[in-house]
């Protein structure tokens, strides 16, 4: 099982939950499972071309997936995926 942490802005899609648990072995599978359980996530996270939106950052085990294998990044049992708005800091 993989935990997906949901930012405030998307919690209404998950009935207010801050965290959702899914079955997945890659990040792409985790996000697909998230959308299956709570429809709407796909449209909010991905652009028309199927890429993660410009202002969405995703982390697997606290590491930015752009430093890993992007959507193909493996996710192991017990790991956490974090969805975080990119606009912060500085």
């Amino acid at each position: 099982m993989v935990k997906v942490r949901i930012p405030t802005q998307l919690r209404p899609l998950a009935g207010g939950a801050a965290e959702v648990t899914v079955e997945a072995s890659t990040l792409a599978e985790a996000l697909k499972a998230l959308d299956a359980a709570h429809p709407g996530f796909r449209d909010r996270l991905f652009d028309e071309g199927g890429k993660l939106r410009r202002f969405v950052n995703v982390f697997v085990a606290d590491e930015d997936v752009r430093f890993l294998q992007g959507l193909e990044t493996p996710v192991a049992d017990g790991q956490t995926v974090s969805i975080v708005p990119a606009v912060a800091g500085g």
Partner: protein
């Protein structure tokens, strides 16, 4: 504040109320403050500004918060003519905006003043931030002044001056084992779990960022209500540069300055130059990097406003340069030697980049140029102690002095 109409997504233009919101719920784009510029134009005059306080609040009509007593004196720092530095760089009309002279020694006092003034209006009692050092210093100081609690977060490898200058205010300074980008990600997540905390650069970021516009306002006012030809601005998240561009545009919009073109150039350290790389390679997106530079206050590998900074530089006909750690130290020394201003590493980045852009002909000899020096050198002593020190150590005797120091003046 009376002229704020609400917030609006910079990407998809969806409207939001003027609350503690920083990203669009639909596309995650940044929210911007929407003003009634016609009403501002009818209200603001050069005379009214000149009669205002000697702080950023003289531009209250153009800011998204009311002063409400939160004023440690941020802003209205000196703009000094830099003749000796200009002569060394071949620039005839060079000026330094000396933002080392803010209450906590950096430009961050501008943004924090606005963010916490708005936070208080919204009823927040706790101030927080993700910081490379200067911001934490400023949030802690302004929170103390405002009677707010504070929890500020920094990476654990900071300069000792920046650590002490937050810790002294006596509340929670949290040192995080990781980079600034790790701290930022942690705070972005914490902000979701602590909605009663005002993270100045997360949930209050829309207001916070507006504070940087005052750098442009002051520069124009201090030049006799004329915009300069070219400004050189350091880039960390890219927010400051983006807002400086906005500030100059607004001055024209509200009728304080005649229409003019300001070229805007950016400065980064080669050890963390994702925006410079994107500029050089012609990209409109910024690929994140893992920083390794002595310019820790600019060490943001994943800059939130990088794409907007690129736009602002390109639209203005400016450029972005990057300099090595050695060049940064030389830049600090050069500014100190020629103008008597001791800047932190970010100032070294700005001056060294200015030198590079001047020698490359990007910054032109006849332009009126303003370089923004945004933080004091006393907080990054570690950067220069390996290369500067006493010229001699002597006994307290005339002979010892004469033997050690040979000067003809």
């Amino acid at each position: 504040m009376p002229f704020v109409e609400g917030l609006r997504c910079r990407e998809c233009a969806r409207p939001y109320p003027a609350e503690a919101l920083h990203v669009c719920e639909f596309c995650f784009g940044p929210l911007e403050v929407a003003y009634d510029y016609d009403a501002i134009k009818a209200s603001i005059t050069r005379k009214k500004v000149a009669a205002g306080p000697l702080s950023i609040w003289r531009y209250a009509d153009l800011l998204p918060a009311s002063p409400d007593g939160l004023d440690l004196g941020a802003g209205f720092t000196p703009l000094v003519r830099a003749e000796r530095l200009g002569a060394e760089l071949g620039l005839r009309d060079l000026w330094i905006k000396n933002d080392t002279l803010n209450p906590t020694g950096s430009f961050k006092d501008r943004v924090v003043t606005v963010a916490l003034a708005r936070a208080r209006e919204l009823g927040f009692k706790v101030a927080a931030c993700a910081s490379t050092g200067n911001l934490a210093n400023s949030v802690a100081a302004h929170a103390a002044r405002a009677g707010m609690r504070h929890v500020v977060f920094i990476p654990s490898d900071l300069e000792s001056g920046k650590v002490a200058a937050s810790a002294i205010y006596g509340e929670h300074l949290v040192s995080v084992r990781g980079s600034y980008d790790d701290v930022n990600r942690l705070c972005a997540e914490l902000a979701s779990d602590h909605p009663t905390w005002a993270f100045v650069n997360v949930n209050l970021r829309t207001y916070y960022a507006e504070g940087s516009k005052t750098l442009a306002y002051e520069t124009a006012e201090q030049l006799g209500w004329e915009a300069p030809d070219h400004v050189v601005v350091p880039i960390a998240s890219g927010s400051q540069l983006t807002k400086v561009a906005k500030g100059f545009a607004e001055l024209v919009q509200v009728g304080l300055v005649e229409p003019s073109e300001v070229r805007i150039s950016g400065a980064q350290a080669t050890g963390c130059s994702p925006v410079e790389t994107a500029f050089r390679e012609g990209h409109d997106f910024v690929r994140p990097v893992r920083p390794s530079t002595i310019a820790k206050s600019l060490a943001i590998g994943n800059p939130a406003d990088g794409p907007y900074a690129l736009d602002a530089v390109r639209q203005s006909g400016g450029s972005i340069g990057a300099v090595t750690d050695d060049e940064i130290v030389e830049g600090i020394k050069l500014l100190a030697r020629t103008e008597g201003i001791f800047a932190e590493t970010a100032g070294g980045v700005t001056i060294a980049t200015l030198a590079k852009l001047a020698s490359g002909g990007v910054v032109r000899p006849h332009e009126r140029v303003v370089a923004f020096v945004t933080g004091t050198g006393l907080k990054t002593i570690e950067a220069v102690t390996p290369v500067v020190g006493p010229t001699a150590e002597i006994d307290p005797t005339l002979e010892s002095f004469a033997a050690a120091i040979d000067v003809d003046y």
